[in-house]
């Protein structure tokens, strides 16, 4: 029996779907949200994955709250959690970067993990799989090895709590004799073949923002005379393309380390199968993508022009307008990820994946188009389930 937490999240759901597809017996710990029960949320996700009904019999959903001891379940009451659990896959995580949400992040990423480890200790669990992030490296420059780290500083509270979580898991698992595998993906986007995704943040955000602004100012031009668009220098060209003169600061090399979710799942499974004794594993791309490429893809796809990379000195020469400020704010927040020149070592994971022929595809315009088409089609997540 495998217990999986975070099964209603992006990575957790994909791992859950994969395990179900492999006919594993799994317990999903999930919470209700906005009046939708945990079982209904999971059911909705399994529908999204198109999993046939006959496979779903091996899935059991437990409605609980990770942040509460014993998941808030009645102490002593018989639940499937009282039985034997062979493995735990802990995906649940709060991925906010917001310092103001530190308490919530610590409650989930550390407190929640602690409660799952409590269960691991008392349930006879033999293997613990912790889904972490490549960015536990914090502000460490250069080569980041597949080993536990103690960076002197972090970009945000998310990185910090995930790093502390790794140490917590190591300490507790080693004390209890549980084999621990730590998986560190970089930034995960949709499926490289279908474009499907459950989450539309990091990679998608700048494109979504550009599209939002394009639609906003096109409406202004078409319906209200275009005064606001004019103030920003936005115009619709004769060929139907929209020009949005937006300078983006470009000073460093480096890129965004992104991986498609199907690669992540295959890599996770390969490492889980191959390395029984556990360890720390990066699941990353060997070919980081430049933000400029992403913007180019976005411009081509959505018939936009006018975005330009601009050295910092030139940026300072002319005040930024609101549109540039929006992008700059985004770039500020994600700078360490976007202009990342670090190399995430794959000394351990690389051979495992290579031996199974698992390779991370580069983000091409074709893959990008599939992903963005899907994102637009599902309203950036608003219509994921057809609502």
């Amino acid at each position: 029996m495998i217990l999986l937490t975070g099964g209603t999240g992006f990575l957790g759901a994909h791992i859950a779907a994969h395990l179900i597809d492999r006919k594993e017996r799994i317990l999903l710990l999930a919470r209700s949200r906005q009046g939708v029960s945990a079982a209904a949320r999971v059911g909705r996700l399994l529908d999204w994955f198109g999993l046939p009904a006959d496979l779903r019999g091996k899935v059991e959903v437990i409605e609980g709250c990770l942040e509460r001891p014993g998941f808030g379940l009645e102490p002593g009451a018989p639940t499937p959690l009282s039985g034997e659990i062979d493995e735990i896959v802990h995906c649940a995580s709060n991925t906010s970067f917001a310092e103001r949400k530190r308490v919530e992040l610590e409650a989930v990423n550390l407190g929640g993990l602690g409660h799952v480890l409590d269960l691991a200790e008392r349930s006879g669990c033999r293997r613990f799989h912790l889904i972490s992030t490549a960015y536990v490296a914090g502000l460490t420059p250069g080569h980041c090895a597949e080993e536990l780290v103690r960076p002197s500083a972090f970009t945000n509270v998310y990185e910090e709590t995930k790093c502390r979580a790794e140490w917590l898991a190591v300490e507790r698992c080693s004390r209890a004799g549980i084999r621990l595998s730590i998986y560190r993906p970089s930034i995960v986007y949709g499926h490289s073949e279908t474009g499907r995704s459950l989450l539309f943040n990091a990679l998608y955000y700048p494109v979504r923002t550009a599209l939002f602004l394009k639609n906003l100012y096109e409406r202004d031009i078409r319906e209200r005379g275009g005064k606001k668009a004019g103030e920003m220098g936005v115009r619709i060209e004769a060929d139907g393309w929209t020009t949005m003169p937006i300078r983006i600061r470009a000073e460093d090399e480096g890129g965004l380390n992104v991986i498609p979710v199907d690669f992540f799942v295959r890599a996770f499974e390969a490492i889980r199968e191959a390395v029984g004794e556990g360890g720390v594993f990066h699941i990353v791309s060997s070919q980081p993508t430049r933000i400029e490429d992403i913007i180019d893809y976005g411009q081509t796809l959505f018939r936009i022009r006018g975005f330009s990379a601009c050295p910092a000195q030139e940026m300072e020469a002319k005040p930024r307008n609101a549109l540039e400020k929006v992008f700059e704010t985004y770039l500020e927040a994600y700078e360490p990820y976007i202009r990342d020149r670090r190399v995430f070592g794959t000394e351990k994971s690389g051979p495992v994946l290579e031996s199974r022929g698992i390779r991370c595809p580069g983000l091409t315009i074709d893959i990008f188009k599939k992903c963005l088409d899907y994102a637009v089609q599902c309203g950036w997540g608003a219509r994921l389930y057809g609502e």
Binding site: R100, R208, K228, V326, A333
Partner: protein, 616 residues
């Protein structure tokens, strides 16, 4: 009862008794019969009570009720007025009341007539036949309030004296007859303390205001509301420290001493007036500025009666400058917000200052209950705002605050956000705003001046955009209201406080007020967390309200609010049980903590020197 009647009755029962229908705060006029006949029974508030009382068979159709029903012209003034603050639509209640009485008469019903008894005849001899009554239709509108801890008390008489001498004569007569009495400034009391089985005195007719600019004072009668006094002060380019708009000035001073965000500069209690005149329990008149007068400036930490019936107050008028304007400093962290408020106190910056919780901000900005509820979620979740320090000040004060704060929502930005509110809540825009966030909360980015053009483009703020959030038939009047700059002018809105009743739009509000030491974050946080704990234990909706620094930031007044449906007996029981915990806890805290005083003990001692209860 048919469903329509059920809905009408539900509306009638939800009247909060804030008496906002008794002041012309929207500039759309005043209920004509109310203005003419003065009894609360003739105002929409009274008619709501009358409809509920008839439905519950509490009163028969009386001659007085027929008069009340017939004088309503269904002009609709009340519908916009009431919706603006409570979201209720009373017009259909007004119509249902008229229809019900009309049907009664058409069916051959004969209205009950209650003959005057000897005491009433003597009361009428003092105040005039029109201004004292024992008609049950009038009495019942003075018998109850939404306050959940007091039952109905039907008075025998309602009397509306017209002068100080009439008040004194009525008191002497009451003493002679052994008739208990209660005084209601504006014919409404949200705390339900002002009822009597004997006689209710409604001071509504005594509405004289006289401004003495040379003495920076205004003389006001006990029927004058804060709104009306502020209007008069405003006409002279001056200001008073104002209570809720429908509260009477005299009643408010006597009850708790006037406190508001302006108390930051203008103080509270005895700071607000120069002199007051009372009729004491023997029917004798005395001014406070008299060496022989009772010492009402002293304070005793106990529930004690008022010094008498206030028949006139000489209220301080304050100067204004032309460059006054408001701003909000948003915060995620409460302690940081309190620290800024204290800093403004210590440095004497600004005229009005308050830390506000999101329930306040959301309701002040939103024209509907639904929108306020959504904004209350969006403010913290999307924008990172859980609190805001609100301030009014001249340009020097505002410049200073800009230097002290990481981000400021100035009056232009607030106007943009308010008039574009429905689009601010658009899910797609929210997703984008959330994406701004990393180390700094999104509000810091939205507050940047260079973001204004984008905000303008996204929100397309206009009175019409704003009005789009209310029912279709109200959109035009809402758009007209919000075309007037004062409806988005922070200074005007906070001088007149016309939005304060929106706090109770969702449910009846039960406010707890405590004076606190502003340098003691531990005490303030303890008070908030204990109110939170008790509310949760009893399943009561609750929220931090506001905190205003006083006396150079040494002390503050803190409001924490509980919200209940006062028509639901189970909710009433919850608040009753909660009160059993709150009283002893706050008493104990006040006993061992300097600077903590429960406002409960200031009731009826509002004329005290504030120093006497702030520094016990």
């Amino acid at each position: 009862m048919p469903k329509d009647d059920d809905d009408v009755l539900r509306t009638a029962a939800q009247c909060r008794h804030y008496a906002m229908c008794k002041i012309d705060y929207l500039g759309t006029g005043l209920c004509p019969p109310g203005k003419k006949y003065h009894y609360v029974s003739y105002y929409p508030q009274g008619r709501m009570d009358l409809y509920a009382a008839l439905a519950e068979d509490l009163i028969p159709v009386t001659e007085g009720l027929v008069r009340i029903a017939e004088t309503c012209t269904l002009c609709g003034i009340c519908d916009l007025q009431c919706h603006f603050v409570t979201g209720l639509r009373p017009l259909r209640v007004m119509k249902a009341l008229k229809d019900r009485v009309g049907d009664f008469l058409k069916g051959g019903g004969k209205p009950a007539s209650v003959a005057p008894d000897a005491p009433l005849r003597r009361l009428q001899g003092i105040v005039g036949a029109d201004w004292a009554t024992n008609d049950p239709a009038v009495l019942v509108t003075y018998a109850n309030d939404p306050f959940p801890l007091a039952g109905m008390k039907m008075p025998r008489y309602v009397v509306l004296p017209g002068s100080r001498d009439e008040v004194a004569a009525v008191v002497r007569l009451a003493n002679e007859l052994g008739l208990p009495y209660a005084v209601r400034g504006n014919g409404g009391s949200v705390f339900g303390f002002v009822f009597s089985e004997g006689m209710v005195l409604d001071m509504q007719r005594m509405r004289r205001i006289s401004v003495d600019k040379d003495n920076w004072s205004a003389s006001v009668g006990p029927g004058v509301t804060s709104f009306e006094l502020q209007q008069e002060a405003f006409r002279h380019g001056l200001r008073v420290n104002a209570a809720e708009p429908a509260a009477t000035v005299c009643g408010n001073i006597v009850c708790t001493g006037t406190f508001s965000a302006w108390s930051h500069a203008y103080g509270t209690a005895a700071d607000g007036f120069i002199d007051m005149e009372f009729v004491d329990s023997r029917g004798e008149v005395f001014p406070l500025n008299d060496k022989k007068a009772p010492n009402v400036y002293a304070f005793e930490n106990a529930v004690i009666p008022a010094p008498g019936i206030c028949t006139e107050a000489l209220v301080k008028l304050q100067p204004t400058t032309e460059d006054e304007d408001g701003l909000l400093v948003p915060f995620w962290d409460f302690d940081q917000a309190v620290a800024l408020a204290r800093e403004l106190g210590r440095r004497r910056i600004g005229l009005a200052v308050a830390v506000m919780g999101i329930h306040y901000i959301a309701n002040f900005m939103s024209p509907s209950k639904d929108l306020a509820g959504r904004l209350k979620d969006v403010l913290p979740e999307t924008l990172g705002i859980r609190y805001a320090v609100f301030a009014i000040g001249d340009r020097f004060a505002r410049e200073a605050i800009h230097k002290l704060a990481a981000a400021v929502i100035d009056s232009d930005l607030l106007r943009t956000l308010t008039l574009g509110l429905p689009r601010l809540l658009d899910p797609e825009w929210q997703d984008l705003v959330k994406g701004f966030e990393a180390g700094r909360p999104p509000y810091e980015i939205l507050c940047r001046p260079e973001m204004r053009p984008l905000l303008e483009a996204v929100l397309r703020p206009s009175p019409e955009t704003f009005a789009g959030a209310v029912e279709e038939d109200l959109r035009k009047p809402y758009a007209e209201l919000y075309s007037q700059p004062r409806f988005t002018d922070m200074t005007w809105l906070n001088m007149f406080r016309i939005l304060s009743s929106r706090m109770s739009r969702r449910k009846h509000m039960f406010a707890f007020l405590v004076y606190v030491p502003l340098d003691r974050h531990d005490v303030i946080n303890h008070i908030n967390s204990e109110f939170d704990r008790i509310a949760q234990a009893h399943g009561i909706d609750h929220d931090f309200g506001f905190l205003t620094p006083m006396d150079l930031g040494k002390r503050a007044i803190l409001e924490y609010d509980y919200y209940i449906d006062h028509t639901d007996p189970a909710e009433r029981e919850k608040i009753r049980r909660a009160m059993l915990e709150i009283g002893p806890w706050l008493d104990g805290l006040a006993e061992r903590t300097k600077g903590v005083t429960f406002l409960k003990y200031v009731f009826s001692q509002g004329c005290s020197r504030k120093e006497n209860f702030l520094y016990r």
